[in-house]
Amino acid sequence: MSKIFDVLAIDDEQVILDSIVRLCSLRDWQVDTAQDALIGLDKISKNKYKIIISDIMMPQLDGFELLDRLRQEDINIPVIITTGYSTVENAVKSLYSGAIDFLPKPFTVEELLSCLSRGMRYREIQEAFEAHQGPIDDDTIFFVPCPAKYYRLGYGSWSLLEEDGSLKVGLTDLFLRTIEGIERIEFMNIEEEIVQGNSCAQIYTNDELVHHLLAPISGRIVKRNKNLLKDHSLIEKDPYFEGWMYTIIPTDLDFESKRLIPCTAETI
């Protein structure tokens, strides 16, 4: 008998599973747990889950292999990757491999909840998109995909190479649609370095959550969008052009751009 859960948590550490269950109870989310990705896959085939949150290092099947298996079996449940070995490499690799988000351990209640709530919203948009029949017009638009020539990290942030070799950085419409009611955005300063896969802006929403935007690429901030600093709602109106966030001088464009996904192939 197939059961319906909100979250499938996969981790070999019981305390992590327990705490995820405990924290999700704050939002009344039903959580199922698995001690290994292999058990998780078995459960996925039997039950229904909205989102999956999985560790990377596990005894039998690791997080990356889980992402591969899900892709092979054409299962598009959004996966959030979390790990104690939270390096930039792991973060970027998991996003490139198809995870929708990366949550470094240890995390706080707020971090987990904001991450999961984005995942839930992502899932809703995904389901609506899949359920939709017929042509998409202005009334049925689910999200505005980022334009061609743009590159994105996961589904959240984009970067665009300018003619002078600098890069523009911003967040995607899909990311905006997974968060609710922006109250304020905390930007980084000019001259500061942003690092691919690390937080480059904090977005405070009116549901008391803080959302970290992961930088699509590393570099030194040389310019910030002054209009956006004055009025953050600009980002909601036009996230891809008027609502850009930073101009950066990239530090290792050649290497890092290989781990970005071109926007021409955007699916959900």
Binding site: E13, G84, K105, P106
Partner: protein, 619 residues
């Protein structure tokens, strides 16, 4: 023993000596024998002539008795073996050995053969053919024989006995044989002497060789062997004594050089191993600690969320959450260490950070009877720093101060203040480009621990490199070129050779040519090429004017650092704590402060104390 160099050398040399001496002896003895034989030949010939002439009269008178007597007398002489006179038919007529008289000799007998070999007997014989050497028995002494033909003379055929007709040419033969025993004895003596001489010379040469091989080869080779054994056993600090100027001396010096290089390589390997194990440790620690930390952080933040109505609990819980978050940052810092992560800067009050650090080490210091003196004035401007990293800096410096004081007690003072510093003498050049955009920074040659600016240089026909001090106005440059005072210096980019001299400008102080380079985003840097002149000008930075810095001084009354160690203390892996320290503490501190565009300097006096001065820009 057989494999020793000295033995091999002695063996080969002895062999050579034996060959040489044998050859010498062979030819020498041969020559000697020849001389002896010739002498004997002459002597025998003479003697046979004497016998002939002394018996002549008796022969003419046919006085046989007298002839017998004479021959007997002569035959009795020591050296003479036999004296025989044969007639033409081969009959022995007279002989010192009376038993053979009257016997006929075959023409093929050794005494007759030389003349009678061919059909017609020879009448005149050269000396060579008249002599012969033979042995009576194989083991008897050699015998030398000489035949002397007795020719027919007028007195013979005119003699009253008329025994010999006139037409006969040869009447008979006088055969004299001489025993060569004494000659052989002499030759044998000479041979023996030669052998003794050969043995003595081999012994002497062996001894001399052994002696000098011992001094020149064995001793240094043994030292080398001992040294290689030491090195093989792992003692790379072993050095060979000076072994002279020969090839072995050169070998010993290159051996010492090699062990030195090996020791350095091993140290580097050891250090990179240290770093690698630190990396593994970091990864392991990160993974293992982050899981339990997740438990603490999620549950504590969960509790914090659920106890909003209990302010008492809230305070305590927020401490747990805050400190867990700090642990998270420490672990992350550990992971990022190898990656040299960029600091997460935020505006912060430096005194607050100092107080946080003090809280961490306070207990440790008070236990060791260390008094902490704080001078932290209020209203200091805020600095933009990564609070965790800067706290790590102060914590480490305070812990180090505590270690320097040790158990005996003392005082640690920490003082913060604001000061305004002009860019001249303080601003750092971190990037420099030639007009064509090549990077001039050279991280290999460091001045004040910072990468220097490398320029190609030409002066007086010499060429080389100049490393400029990266601190604006400090001018502690390294001149890698030979030049006279006041020589014209041509500077250019070491990569593309484009000139770095500004032809339109002259130094306002001394009138010398001026060099320049670009600093990305910070305009143009100019300076005087003259060696003694300290003029430098950096428009963009001068426009910014004097900058405010927060200065933090941490002083201790500890053991101090010897002057010669001061330049090394910020180098990675330099440690005075042996295996207890990683040697990374101060190197990490230096990196953190440098990442914050600040400076850290040290003053120290042995047994008085050490002061670390950290300056961070106010922004």
């Amino acid at each position: 023993m057989l494999n020793k160099i000295s033995f091999k050398l002695i063996f080969t040399v002895s062999l050579a000596v034996i060959i040489i001496i044998s050859a010498y002896a062979y030819f020498n003895i041969r020559a000697q024998s020849k001389v002896l034989l010739t002498e004997i030949e002459r002597h025998a010939d003479q003697e046979s002539e004497i016998i002939k002439s002394s018996t002549k009269d008796a022969m003419l008178n046919n006085n046989r008795e007298l002839i017998h007597k004479i021959i007997k007398t002569i035959g009795r002489q020591q050296c003479i073996h036999t004296v025989r006179i044969l007639n033409k038919e081969g009959e022995i007529i007279y002989s010192s050995d009376t038993t053979v008289i009257g016997k006929m000799l075959d023409k093929k007998a050794e005494a007759c053969y030389t003349c009678h070999a061919s059909g017609v007997p020879m009448e005149k014989l050269p000396m060579k053919n008249r002599t012969r050497i033979f042995r009576l028995y194989p083991d008897s002494a050699r015998i030398f024989g000489i035949i002397n033909p007795i020719y027919n003379e007028p007195s013979c055929y005119n003699a009253p006995c008329h025994v010999h007709p006139r037409n006969k040419k040869v009447l008979g033969v006088l055969d004299l044989t001489i025993c060569l025993k004494f000659v052989d004895q002499k030759i044998a003596d000479a041979k023996l002497k030669m052998v003794i001489f050969a043995i003595v010379s081999i012994l002497a040469i062996s001894f001399i060789l052994w002696f000098f091989v011992r001094i020149w080869v064995s001793k240094p080779v043994n030292e080398l062997v001992d040294a290689t054994k030491e090195v093989a056993a792992g003692n790379l600090n072993y050095t060979l004594p000076e072994l002279g100027n020969d090839e072995l001396g050169i070998l010993s010096r290159s051996f010492n050089n090699m062990t030195k290089k090996l020791a350095e390589a091993r140290l580097q390997l050891f250090q990179s191993d240290k770093l690698a194990s630190l990396g593994r440790l970091a990864a392991g620690v990160a993974h293992e600690i982050n899981n339990p930390l997740t438990g603490i952080l999620t549950y504590s933040s969960f509790l914090l969320k659920r106890t909003k109505d209990q302010p008492e609990l809230q305070n305590d819980l927020s401490v747990i959450v805050r400190e867990t978050k700090r642990s998270r940052e420490i672990v992350k810092g550990l992971l990022d260490f190898a990656r040299q992560s960029v600091p997460k800067k935020n505006k912060a009050n430096i005194n607050q950070i100092i107080n946080h650090s003090l809280k961490v080490v306070e207990n440790q210091l008070t236990i060791s009877n260390i008094e902490i003196v704080k001078d932290l004035p209020e209203n200091l401007p805020e600095v933009t720093v990564d609070a965790n990293q800067i706290q790590q800096v102060f914590t480490n410096l305070l812990v180090n101060a505590g270690h320097a004081i040790g158990e005996k007690g003392g005082r640690v003072s920490i003082k913060s203040s604001v000061l305004s510093l002009k860019p001249y003498g303080n601003a750092k050049v971190k990037q420099a480009l030639c007009p064509k955009g090549h990077n001039l920074m050279d991280p290999v040659v460091k001045i004040h621990g910072l990468a220097s600016i490398k320029m190609g240089a030409k002066a007086d026909g010499n060429s080389g490199f100049i490393h400029l001090d990266p601190i604006y106005g400090k001018n502690e440059n390294h001149y890698g070129i030979q030049m006279k005072e006041g020589a014209q210096l041509d500077l250019f980019c070491p990569k593309c050779q484009v000139s770095l001299i500004d032809k339109k400008k002259k130094c306002p102080k001394c009138g010398s040519p001026v060099y320049f380079f670009e600093i990305p985003g910070k305009g143009r840097f100019e300076g005087c090429t003259a060696k003694g002149c300290d003029w430098q000008f950096w428009q963009e930075i001068e426009n910014e004017g004097a900058k405010d810095y927060i200065e933090i001084k941490i002083s201790d009354t500890g053991c101090g650092i010897p002057k010669e160690n001061l330049p090394k203390i910020f180098e990675p892996f330099y440690t005075t704590k042996g295996q207890k320290g990683t040697g990374l503490g101060l190197a990490v501190i230096w990196g953190i402060i440098d990442n914050h565009n600040g400076t850290i300097t040290v003053d120290s006096e042995v047994n008085v104390g050490t002061t670390f001065t950290v300056r961070l820009p106010v922004a």
